[in-house]
């Protein structure tokens, strides 16, 4: 009886998680494996799991200066858009969480509605606007576009974090002589730090992986990682082995980034649960 309940409570969920983890990780494993193959091995059928690994692809990719420019572009765009997104989104979320004013609900919903259209529908207007403004093919342009795409997420998630902070702490700071902004800056923001970090990571990744706007608005001048990888898919051939090697290299910084902030990420995502 005890064995049976333990089976259901512990091992069954664990088994499901293992299967799910394999399902998620297998593509990553496959990319890594392919990056160690020769071009011929990469295309072999049935697929090869055992072979003599080679680092030729990595050597070739590292020597290609384009790879580094993809990486740099992505870092600028993703970093810039997450910082700007937080800079605009955090005060907005705070006001929506704390202050009552006419149209508060409508304003929040309007922000959310920017996420309801498929992004591709907004691409043409953006293209036209950016052409007029001379923002085509610039980092700034792509940063602004990504902020637009992600701002509603920032505001809605942070609004939840701010709403959960005890309001008495802010009232205490008001009585202690702080202005509204001082309260926000010295008290609320430090307390919302886990939330800010996890939301920041989330929009950083969304921007890092964004393809469509980067393709159209960045064009040839600003090539982010997803666009750069796409260039390995040529008119006649797909350089699978080199593509995989580049992809492997470009995943590494993201993994390191996540590992550093993992503690904050988990704390931020579960903040509401145990408070």
């Amino acid at each position: 009886m005890k064995l049976k309940s333990r089976l259901y409570a512990v091992w069954l969920p664990r088994l499901i998680l293992y299967v799910f983890a394999i399902w998620c990780l297998f593509p990553l494993y496959w990319i890594f494996l392919t990056s160690l193959k020769t071009p011929v091995q990469a295309l072999s059928r049935p697929p090869m799991f055992w072979f003599e690994p080679t680092l030729d692809n990595f050597a070739k990719v590292i020597q290609n200066p384009d790879i580094w420019s993809y990486f740099l572009s992505s870092t600028i765009v993703a970093g810039g858009s997450s910082l700007l997104g937080l800079l605009i989104g955090a005060p907005t979320a705070y006001i929506l969480a704390r202050y009552k004013f006419r149209g508060r609900g409508d304003f929040g919903f309007w922000l959310l509605s920017t996420r309801m259209t498929p992004p591709v529908a907004m691409l043409i207007p953006f293209f036209v606007m950016f052409s007029w403004l001379g923002l085509m093919d610039t980092h700034i342009g792509l940063i602004l576009a990504h902020v637009m795409l992600n701002l509603s997420i920032v505001v809605w998630l942070l609004r939840g974090f701010f709403a959960e902070l005890p309001v008495e702490i802010e009232e205490a700071s008001a009585l202690d002589g702080d202005t509204y902004f001082q309260t926000f800056w010295r008290i609320t923001l430090p307390l919302a730090m886990p939330g800010l970090i996890s939301v920041g990571i989330l929009i950083f990744l969304l921007s890092w992986n964004e393809f469509l706007f980067a393709l159209v608005l960045g064009d040839s001048a600003v090539r982010t990682v997803p666009i750069g990888l796409y260039s390995f898919i040529g008119y006649q051939t797909i350089a699978w082995a080199e593509l995989s090697a580049s992809a492997t290299l470009l995943i590494i910084p993201i993994i390191i980034f996540i590992l550093i902030f993992q503690r904050h990420l988990i704390r931020g995502l579960t903040m509401g649960a145990y408070r």
Binding site: E168, E171, A172, L175
Partner: protein
């Protein structure tokens, strides 16, 4: 020198009338306690004084100056919150320093004042700790020190002791009273605990449903409640009430008749008497005949609950008295302890001399 006046303050939350027009004057140096059950408007009143809530109508005056629309930060009032509201990301010292920051004092001076305030509430060894590493009582002291440090015009305390255990509560109560006496700073204190109100206050305001029911010194409101609510709210065990009527100078309640002088006839009356004003009659001189319903020894004395005409009357008797359950018992009242209230509106009836 700080006096506070509220004149005809009202507060509505949507359609809910949280405060009906309230007016009161707080003289300099007074320890004023707002007492009442939850939802009676006492916390709202305090928050309006602090400026955390805006009154729907009426005026708040500080030293005669209208501060109704002044921001909290410009009122120079310090508040101790029920959950302490310490800044969780700051150490004890930084928490206590914080109110001084807004006044443009240099860091060394801030720390000097903060350390002095911390010393006053015995926080010396804990200056470097974060609030999460302090016990409930220590957090309470940090909140007090943070309020003390800048010598505010007014102390506001919103149920500051309700999160502490009983023993610590008694201790902190004494400390708060002493600190207030030492500093002489006008204090408004909100509580639902009548013991806190009685022990701390110079004056108590009893509130119910957004209205002031009585204002007075602890003795006044205990000895001379103006209405049924105040009479029933104070005292532990509370005042006993017996339904009856006053006819021709006597209180009639069915079985027994008690001579009361000077009261006009009234058809529906509640007679109130405190448990300590009743004794067990050991001779024939009996005011009321009942039966023993239950006997509750408290260690200090014995509470005897007596059934009479469908009502239960609690008597505080000597600890040696242990009557049998269901035995008939005769009670005797201290005549000066009798209070009469009109049943219809709960107002006190007074004898015309």
């Amino acid at each position: 020198m700080t006096t506070i006046s509220l004149s005809s303050i009202t507060k509505k939350f949507g359609a809910v009338e949280a405060l009906k027009p309230i007016s009161l004057d707080i003289p300099d140096g007074e320890f004023l306690v707002l007492l009442g059950p939850s939802g009676c408007g006492k916390t709202t009143t305090m928050r309006i004084i602090a400026g955390l809530e805006t009154a729907t109508s009426g005026q708040v005056l500080k030293n005669g100056e209208d501060i109704t629309n002044t921001l909290p930060r410009n009122r120079n009032m310090a508040m101790v919150f029920q959950n302490y509201a310490l800044y969780p990301h700051m150490t004890t010292l930084d928490n206590i320093c914080y109110p001084l920051r807004a006044r443009g004092l240099g860091k060394p001076e801030r720390q000097k004042l903060a350390k002095a305030a911390a010393e006053k509430v015995d926080l010396g060894p804990y200056l470097d700790r974060l609030p999460k590493n302090l016990s409930g009582g220590q957090r309470q002291r940090v909140a007090l020190a943070r309020a003390l440090v800048r010598e505010p015009d007014l102390f506001l305390m919103d149920e500051p002791l309700s999160n502490l255990d009983a023993k610590l509560r008694g201790h902190m109560r004494a400390e708060i009273k002493r600190l207030q006496r030492e500093t002489g700073i006008t204090t408004v204190y909100v509580t639902h605990d009548q013991i806190e109100a009685m022990t701390l206050a110079d004056r108590v305001i009893i509130m119910e449903q957004g209205e002031i029911r009585q204002i007075g010194t602890p003795d006044e409101i205990y000895d001379n409640p103006e209405n049924l609510f105040v009479a029933g709210f104070l005292g532990s065990p509370p005042m006993n009430f017996i339904d009856g009527s006053i006819q021709k100078g006597a209180f009639e309640s069915g079985l027994n008749s008690i001579a009361v002088k000077g009261y006009a006839d009234e058809s529906a009356v509640k007679m109130g008497i405190r448990p300590e004003d009743i004794s067990i009659a050991d001779d024939g001189d009996v005011d009321l005949n009942g039966t023993v319903y239950s006997v509750e020894p408290t260690g200090e004395n014995t509470l005897i609950v007596v059934a009479y005409q469908g009502a239960l009357i609690t008597v505080k008797a000597d600890k040696a008295i242990r009557p049998d359950i269901d035995a008939p018992i005769g009670l005797k009242f201290v005549k000066t302890g009798l209070r009469f209230f009109r049943t219809s509106d709960g107002q006190r009836l007074r004898a015309n001399q």
